[in-house]
């Protein structure tokens, strides 16, 4: 990186080399998903020894690394609404939303009974996004298998998860209806922040 300022012609060459290396070495969409699922399993296995906050900490790092939270959020609230927010509001909502996602994971992935993820397939959509399909196998209890589809979009050099569907139920589609409903009210922004914050507090109390 330092080269850029010193010698532009050299910088161009090195940038090309670098981007080639990056595309070879940067994680594929499939690996992003698998790595993330491994963190989930790891947190579940340590569910007894880690408390809620500790699980949150570990999950937050993994989520920020593999997910495009802002993209998800913009899709949920809609471009018009999103653009009407001030930067401070965008910031506040992003933080609250991220914490909500992390808390939901931390609250639910707290125990391990031999669950496993298996990769099924991936395909590129017409718009150039990648959908990775995997199955969560739950040997214990009554329910056996849940299909998880991850939608990933390229952000810079990296593929990032921005939506997840479980047995065909799209997380963003469901949230979109909920969030837009709340935002349509008077003072909808503050109402949305208040409701999400309340949910986070409830998770933390468990």
């Amino acid at each position: 990186m330092f080269f850029f300022g010193i010698n532009s012609s050299f910088a161009v060459t090195s940038a090309k080399v670098e981007s080639k290396q990056l595309s070879e070495t940067s994680a594929t969409a499939k690996n992003i998903v698998i790595d993330f699922q491994n963190v989930l399993l790891d947190v579940m296995k340590k569910g007894q020894s880690l408390d809620f906050q500790a699980r949150c900490k570990q999950l937050e790092v993994a989520i920020l690394k593999s997910h495009d939270v802002i993209k998800s959020l913009r899709t949920i609230v809609g471009s018009k609404e999103w653009n009407s927010f001030s930067d401070a509001q965008k910031n506040q909502l992003t933080k609250v939303f991220t914490k909500f996602i992390v808390s939901t994971y931390a609250s639910n992935f707290n125990e391990f009974s031999n669950e496993s993820f298996s990769y099924i397939s991936e395909h590129t959509t017409k718009k150039g996004n990648i959908i990775v399909r995997s199955v969560l196998d739950i040997p214990a209890g009554k329910r056996k298998k849940v299909t998880f589809d991850y939608a990933l979009k390229k952000n810079g050099n990296d593929w990032k998860i921005y939506n997840i569907a479980a047995d065909g139920v799209s997380d963003l589609a469901t949230r979109r209806s909920e969030y837009r409903r709340i935002l349509a009210k008077n003072d909808g922004f503050n109402a949305l922040i208040a409701i999400i914050t309340k949910k986070i507090d409830n998770y933390a109390k468990q």
């Binding site: 933080k95 994971y105 125990e111 479980a166 047995d167 799209s170 909920e178």
Partner: protein, 340 residues
Amino acid sequence: MLIFSQEKGFSSLFAVCFIASALLLSGCASNEVIEAEAVEVEVVEVAEEVNEIDPYEGFNRKVFVFNDTLDSYVAAPISDAYLFVTPEFVQSGVANFFNNLKDINVVLNDVMQGKMVQSAEDTGRFAVNSTVGLLGLFDVATEIGLEKHDEDFAQTLAVWGVPQGPYLVLPLLGPATTRGVPGGIFDAAANPATYIGAPVQLLQMLNARANADGELNFIEEAALDPYVFTRESFLQYRNNLISDGKLENTDDLLELDDEFDEFDEDDDFAKDNSNEEGNSTVISQVESTGTIDNKPQDAQVSSDDLTRASESLDGAVKSLDAATSSYKTADEKIDQLEMQ
């Protein structure tokens, strides 16, 4: 929330809801229903614009609150006691027993949808589980590789081209669409459990509620507006069942970004923040911003509601008509489907 769902889809529906529901193990959720309702009441105020899929929303919401209340006071305590008292192998035996009887419905609907190979497999499942599996108490078939399928008459009607119709929340039964009403009636009629007697039916309801326990807790904890959350996930889940989970049908639902691509380019906020990934201090900066008003609920049922209720019943009757007339041509349809 639904109390005793007829649709198997439903009990497994929420398994779905986003991440973990299927894993909901600990639960340990203290039922803070009041709070969920508070959110709901708040949101109801803006519900006025008419939604194409959910034209009876006002009325549906009232039934939803009714079901939810009844669930908290009646079904949930019974279900909790059942889950607490009975050993897990008994619970899964009961669940297997009813699932096995439901396989009769699955076979019938396989045939009606022209899925002949699958119907042979499912017949095999029923035969194995009813014999080796001791009247269905053990799901031996899954162990030997005969996977369980989920088919019902509402899906068959969809495959036959009967439109979905408006979304309904039925008292006691929970979420449905008008297409699901004749579907549910047919499935109940074709299921032996319906005829065994009241105690068995009660056990069936208890089993359905107990199996949905984790999912219902998940909604209570994760949904900002439980009514909308339930509606959206129910409709998407049903559509996924109709298409048998084929990926090509879910692209749009997964991508959802039509209206965003164009502004991706000029959103400085996203650019500025895209480098902040990995910054784990984000969370600790979140502050509490106050509480939600807990407004008293309007439980009055107005004549307007009654009109809506009767309209929604009309819708169901129309679906029943459509179902009946589509049944007349079932022959041809199955032939066509088989050829596909």
